[in-house]
Amino acid sequence: MNQSKVYPMSFLLLPLAVYILFFLLPSLYSFYYSLTDWNTYTDRVRFVGLANFADIFAQGSDYWKYLNNTVVFALITTMLKNMLGLALAIWLNEGLKSVRVLRTIFYLPVTISPLIIGLIFSSVFDANQGLLNAFLGWLGLGDWTQAWLIDVRFAMASVISVETWKYVGFNMIIYLAGLQTISRSYYEAASIDGAGVWGRFRRITLPLIMPAFIINLILNLINGFKVFDLIFVLTKGGPGNTTEVLNTAVFTEFSSGRYGTSTAFGVVLFLLTTVVALSTLSLLTRRSEAEA
């Protein structure tokens, strides 16, 4: 049987061409341009070596702060989305009549554009006219009202909470898929052996949903590193750079015409994302190989 007649390699031409020209090529270019002083003010692009990266990694600089904010944002949102997502999944795995409706509701924000979510919460968090402060006032907690997006103490926490609000449903769905692979008989056997709720969770649920956990971990980290729309709409990186992250810096530098620095930020993001994702992934495969 002639493989190349049955399954022609020409079928790969279109997807490869589109993908290489519009994704890989720009990515490769970025490694070169991140080493230059490319900008709008002059036509000449000069090679400057690692100068852009030296600027980004200079301790105490604003740029270093952006990197720091990105990591903080990614880590905290990853933790919150995982914990809440798992809790929801366990509660919604069985029983209640309204399970399906609730699942639909919790997943709804995942489907809405982050731009729109950002616009909605810029109103909800508004210091004077926002729903959140009005609600706190109504509860008699008027002292707790804050300028959520403008106060340096709360801006980061606010954007983190919106990001978590949006993606909890995604984590829930992945955990639900994981939970559904666990056979009921495990729990029954454990109950007979006298294991309590916590014991069953720790000895059965937790080990068996490890794959779902790793997936959520990787995807949440990647999405956390890449965050842009929400922060761009909610705080524009402010107040005073407290919520400025890598992808907003890419845009700021781009808008100021400093293309070289913008590209260098992009490269840092590229490396951060791929290295973290691949090393977590290889950790997973090594683990499952050890078990097999």
Binding site: Y19, Y33, T104, I120, L131, I174, I215, T263, F270
Partner: protein
């Protein structure tokens, strides 16, 4: 215990529903009523808000633009990814394994906006519909290849072999045997790609500076910039962009969720 759990879950569900209800309610209010964004019912439902938004925000145009971009992307990304994934899954040579890994890189790595613009300028497709469709497709091909690859791998080879004996190969084998089987996974891919294309905001922000080609997201953002003090109108604009997505989600939920899970678990 069950009632407490149910109560708690519905309370959490309210934190999702209330911000969304807030937008819908305020989209029917007068400008004065919407100064303080609250959950009170509008005194009189102002359906005119929608007409104003559509007129002032050039939403018809933007809606059409989004539709063109999303439809073009869905078509290009799905047809090309289905063909590519099919050959990758059926001919597992060393080269094909590497091509597959090459696609997977695109699942993880973020794009570089500035050099992307440069490349699009070089190809003279910047600010054009074909350009943005090619770019969106490039970004969605990895996930779509991945989804189809997983599916084709699960289809028994015997099906192909029976057809091959009857002299059915190449394009005919793909179109007659695989494509009909692919329909459920294609539905998933179409829905997810459509939603992603419709919701995309960052790329238009970087790549588009021709207002007549603006998609909905950019139109809403620009509208917000101009009408920041009229939240009733901003809310109406938000409803207009989001409604198609919510409808697609509610009707295609089964396909979307199964695709998200398949995409994540095998990744």
């Amino acid at each position: 215990m069950k009632t407490i759990r149910s109560l708690l879950l519905w309370l959490l569900a309210l934190t999702i529903l209330i911000p969304l209800a807030l937008v819908v309610l305020n989209s029917f209010k007068t400008q004065m009523e919407s100064v303080s964004m609250n959950l009170r019912l509008p005194g009189k439902f102002q359906f005119d808000n929608y007409a104003t938004v559509i007129r002032e925000g050039h939403m018809m145009r933007a809606f059409l633009n989004s539709l063109i971009i999303a439809a073009g992307t869905v078509l290009l990304a799905n047809v090309s990814a289905a063909m590519g994934a099919y050959v990758l899954a059926r001919r597992k040579s060393r080269l094909n394994r590497w091509i597959y890994y090459l696609f997977i890189v695109g699942l993880i790595a973020p794009i570089n906006y500035v050099t992307t613009i440069k490349v699009m300028q070089t190809f003279h497709v910047i600010n054009t519909f074909p350009g943005i469709i090619l770019l969106y497709s490039a970004l969605m091909i990895p996930f779509t290849v991945f989804l189809f690859y997983g599916f084709v791998s699960s289809v028994p080879l015997e099906l192909d072999e029976a057809a091959i004996i009857d002299g059915c190969t190449g394009w005919r084998l793909f179109a007659r045997i695989q494509v009909p089987l692919m329909m459920p996974v294609a539905a998933t891919a179409v829905l997810i790609n459509f939603m992603n294309a419709w919701n995309e905001f960052v790329l238009p922000l970087y790549v588009f500076n021709r207002s007549t080609a603006n998609p909905m997201t950019l139109a809403v953002y620009n509208f917000y910039g101009t009408y920041m003090s009229s939240w009733n109108l901003v809310c109406a604009a938000i409803v207009l962009t989001t409604l198609p997505i919510v409808i697609v989600y509610l009707f295609g939920q089964r396909y979307i969720v199964s695709g998200v899970i398949a995409g994540a678990i095998k990744g």
